[in-house]
Symmetry: C2
Subunit: 664 residues, 2 copies
């Protein structure tokens, strides 16, 4: 008697609202190696029967689920967790079932009459006997012994106590009757990345400026620059495109329409007769020299990220070889990039609606594959929001299925939903609006969105105070203190951050014109001569901040951020903590780069694990100064001329088992 659509109507356990799931499981959540995935769901069934449930999880390529139990919280919510210890993709779902033994045990404890208890013990004996058959190992014998004791001749009270014995419950929980178990309707996916996807400091520089004033820098010159970057404590060196640059419609200095003979052009105008996306600009060097540069970086403990800008200069070989990948105008010319009235004649976008979209996708993937072969594993992707989302989803998944160590940073300064979509579909990290968030209200609300909201499961922020495209007004007008407090904010609010240097450490704040965020004499269009040894350089300060980041695990995560009240709107106050090892930092930033600001901050001592009956030490890791604080209400004063921020390590009294007290 078939009931259409009903597999087995006796499966009574219901699983709802499993989390974390992105769009019902359509997209994966993200983790890094060693992190855990906390899974929750509503589990319930009809009637009074008790349930049991597990998380089932496996690496994508494994055939069998591993399991870890779920435990009830309150209001029919259950929780469990599992750790991810391999790169790649994991899957998880929930299994739940009505557990007749647990129900029987629960009821047995409440039965009152000898008749009821007697019948119940017979039923319980059968349940335990059935478990013995499922066990089929050494435990089977144990279970049969338990069953015999339930059904035996001992006094009723004793047999009842046997039924309630926790050892029996523990054993029975290992052999539940799961014939009628249900599975969550959704399956969740987890992409597991290297820790560098979560925690790292980026340093961007233009290779061609590395030998100024003597001319166009080479990769060999860049190798010499690596020590400078590594000593500041950065983890990743990111280079703008290193490919040949087009001549046709080449832009001149300050984005002028006509280039002078020696103007090098924008590195994002990729491609010339000398090659395209798989070539190195001849003035920078050869492919072999690039590989040498990679090795030199690795020797310094630095990784290299290169720029992926999927667009062509008019001279790019693709334009002639694959006209079908470009949109042609009625006059036969190739459609250049435009956003009327703005025109970018030096850039031809790919025409992703072309009939030949599949060969185009495969060719673009071959670009990534090519650089992976050279040894690159981090790609900063230029303007991903101007190429179709399905393309990126396919590309990133295809690359990461072969190279799970590869990371992609999305340079999309676009609308919120577009930025989040890119993160969902696979980008490992994303540029953010931090670049323009300056006030306390702005920062607190944006950080709540990033670290408390649902987006945190897939959107990993990477905070940049500046980029070659963006010199924020705050830096234009705030002077040295502005650079310092933006650095502290980026480096302590977000586990991943980056600066575009040497413009940053050399306090470059001159815009092309008032109201513009473009740099004057932008390196995008010319070689710049930076004096790295300038006494006002932030090099030392950056070194200190990066060292603090490395030494304090609390700064290596995003979700542990917590803001605290300060009675001065220019003072931003927040803490980050980690458990293992125990580490508690309190950051106070003066958002006003011009004036000393002071005020009282309020700390929730209990939540922070601080004994409110004793003083505790606030040790400023930036200046080395130490303050003895007491209670939740403490005074701070921040002079931007000296140091526009405190990064306090809070050293607390700990009571050990031997009653010995110490600060850590």
């Amino acid at each position: 008697m078939p009931l259409p659509g009903i597999e087995d109507g006796r499966r009574r356990a219901i699983i709802e609202r499993m989390e974390p799931l992105i769009d019902g499981g359509r997209f994966p959540i993200k983790r890094t190696l060693g992190e855990s995935v906390v899974v929750e769901a509503d589990l319930f069934a009809d009637g009074h029967d008790l349930l049991a449930g597990t998380i089932q999880y496996r690496r994508e390529e494994e055939p069998d689920w591993r399991e870890t139990p779920l435990a009830p919280l309150a209001n029919d919510r259950w929780r469990g967790s599992f750790s991810v210890d391999r790169l790649g993709r994991y899957r998880f779902r929930i299994a739940a079932w009505v557990d007749h033994f647990l129900t029987w045990r629960h009821d047995l404890a409440r039965r009152e009459t000898p008749e009821d208890i007697t019948v119940a013990l017979v039923i319980g004996g059968a349940l335990v006997e059935a478990a013995a058959q499922r066990a089929g190992n050494d435990d089977a014998l144990k279970l049969r012994t338990w069953a015999a004791r339930l059904r035996g001749d001992a006094p009723l009270a004793l047999r009842r106590a046997t039924g309630l014995n926790p050892e029996l419950e523990a054993l029975m929980r290992r052999y539940p009757d799961r014939r009628l178990e249900n599975h969550s309707e959704q399956v969740g996916d987890v992409v597991v990345d290297r820790p560098l996807a979560r925690f790292g400091a980026w340093y961007e520089f233009f290779p061609r400026s590395c030998s100024a004033p003597s001319g166009h820098g080479t990769l060999h010159d860049c190798e010499a620059r690596l020590a400078y970057v590594a000593e500041m404590g950065f983890d990743i060196v990111y280079l703008p495109p290193i490919h040949p640059i087009g001549q046709t419609h080449r832009k001149g200095r300050n984005n002028s329409l006509t280039a002078e003979t020696n103007d090098p052009g924008s590195p994002w105008a990729i491609g010339s007769a000398e090659g395209g996306h798989k070539s190195v600009h001849p003035l920078l060097g050869s492919l072999e020299e690039f590989r040498h540069f990679l090795a030199a970086a690795e020797a310094r403990g630095l990784e290299v990220a290169i720029d992926i800008a999927f667009q062509c200069a008019p001279d790019h070989p693709y334009v002639g070889e694959h006209p079908e990948w470009f949109l042609h105008r009625p006059d036969g010319s190739v459609q250049y990039a435009e956003n009327p009235p703005k025109k970018y004649e030096d850039i031809y976008p790919f025409h992703f609606e072309a009939e030949a979209w599949e060969p185009l996708w495969l060719e673009l993937k071959s670009v990534i594959d090519f650089w992976i072969e050279q040894g690159v594993t981090i790609f900063r992707v230029d303007n991903p929001h101007t190429k179709p989302f399905p393309f990126w989803e396919w590309l990133i998944n295809a690359v990461k299925s072969e190279h799970p160590e590869v990371l992609f940073l999305a340079e999309a300064f676009s609308r919120p939903k577009i930025m989040y979509r890119l993160a969902k579909l696979g980008f490992s990290q994303s540029y953010t609006y931090f670049t323009w968030r300056n006030t306390k209200w702005e920062i607190e609300h944006y950080m709540a969105e990033l670290t408390r909201g649902r987006v945190r499961e897939f959107f990993r922020p990477n905070f940049w105070p500046n980029t070659p495209d963006i010199l924020p007004e705050y830096l234009q007008y705030g002077g040295r203190a502005a650079f310092m407090n933006r650095l502290v904010l980026a480096a302590t609010l977000s586990a991943s951050y980056g600066v575009y240097g040497p413009a940053f450490e050399l306090l470059e704040g001159r815009a092309r014109e008032p109201g513009s965020e473009e740099y004057l004499d932008s390196e995008k269009y010319q070689v710049r001569d930076w004096n790295l040894e300038r006494p006002d350089s932030l090099r030392e300060f950056i070194t200190r901040v990066n060292r603090i980041r490395r030494e304090n695990p609390a700064l290596q995560h995003d979700w542990n951020l917590r803001f605290h009240p300060a009675d001065n709107p220019e003072l931003l106050c927040y803490s980050k903590w980690s458990d293992e090892p125990a580490n508690l930092l309190l950051v106070v930033v003066n958002l006003d780069p011009h004036h000393t600001q002071s005020g009282w901050v309020d700390l929730p001592l209990d939540d922070l694990g601080i004994d409110s009956t004793h003083p505790f030490q606030a040790h400023d890791l930036l200046t080395g100064s130490r303050h003895l604080w007491h209670g939740s209400h403490n005074y701070v004063q921040v002079d931007p001329a000296r140091s526009p921020a405190h990064i306090f390590r809070l050293r607390r009294r700990i009571r050990t088992e031997h009653d010995f007290e110490y600060f850590f």
Copy 2:
């Protein structure tokens, strides 16, 4: 060159977060005839191109989608709506596409050089020509004319103006190029019910008490009771089970374990030698008399709801005929209902984990089908949370696919997630926690959950101040005013409400014992003799409240509820409004049944459409008194001895086009 899993990579439109969807579309939302479904989603694409999108919807059995446009709100959110005008099931999804004409038009307005405009007009001409081919009707000629004008010899400015002509845009919007459109990954379902599913007043009574003191009431006696119920303004008469009642382990008065000879037993102990779920209790009458009762109710404008309690007395014919549907204990006896230490020996639950679950499901459906054949279309389902959720989902969907007019009310006073699951899977209405929500905080928060939260899309509340199982303490100790204010709350907070009478209108407040919510001398176990003509009966008051509900469309919906501040915690103040026809009610309830309470209420006059520069009238529909109010801050005083609530109709100044002013 196949790319696995990619249908067509050129489909660039993204559709996210479509709403309303329950669990990603796993369950339907609910509407009643004539209501609209407002659909929202995030729509966006890569780059700068403009999008267009539509809601596609159809009745489940229709092959083709109908369409209605989506319009952008802000932040990439789009909205549209469609109306449902037939019972049954609708489906909806979203279609969206990158619209090259709209993009072209947007860009044309911003182009600056004659060269750019000239090329653009050629491109635009081709776009319009292509639309003409798609149109293939009278509009094709029109479009070709437009295309010719774009490409013609007229001055450039004129041709550009042609391209920007709104008439052309309107015409082009009718023939978009949708070859690369995308559809939402989810499809939403809508169950469309009769308006009675949204708005109706229920009256429950025990048929066997209808002829007291002369003996066991009959269906014939019940017919005489219908006038009384109809005159009070109720819409639905709900009868507890009308089937034969078992003898074995029959419960006596006040739930005593042994019944006296004349004790009638609980109507929920269904089944005896005289029949089961498809039989009428012989003392009530015959099946033919039941059909006569239905007709008599219909003649009074009343619908009849019967009780579905899927459980059996030990004497039920099923027990002998289908032992496979019951759980047998080791001693051979059938397992009775129990929740240790509580035992219900007079009730055998069905064993839904039986091997023979399919025949059982089909038999239970045949019970519903049987009563539908007799003319019943509303079923109040007893304790649905003690039968498997998959069973109800199958049953309700199966019944409603054949009889979309049928309604099911879930009597589940259980945990929140269980109640919501039952509503999701198909129950048309649900009992609620209203029965125990007495304080201002409790009521405001519960109503926010029901009328503002996501549950409102599937959970239709039905508010009961009392039931045969529940005499809340508030009614036990609050006296007449308590009954009155609970009635006003139920009838005005919720479009659907019900009372168990005559216990309610006769102010029955005696509990079996202190601390119990069971009625003393409960009708569940004995015939009661109610004096309907008692002078303190609430009959008149109920009549007035039900008339107010019928005359004021604002009270016929749930989502229009809005609470307003009152500076006295015992005063609950809320408004409901409707647009067509214009109707604005303000309810002020004194939650304290013992003392006069007074205070100031604050109304958001602008939001309520009240001209704050003129007085407005607050007309108490309960007492007939009229107050002239002015401004947002007004004084109220509520004496529970007189009337524990105001139901004000607010009559506002309206300025017409001829500057004539009136109150409505």
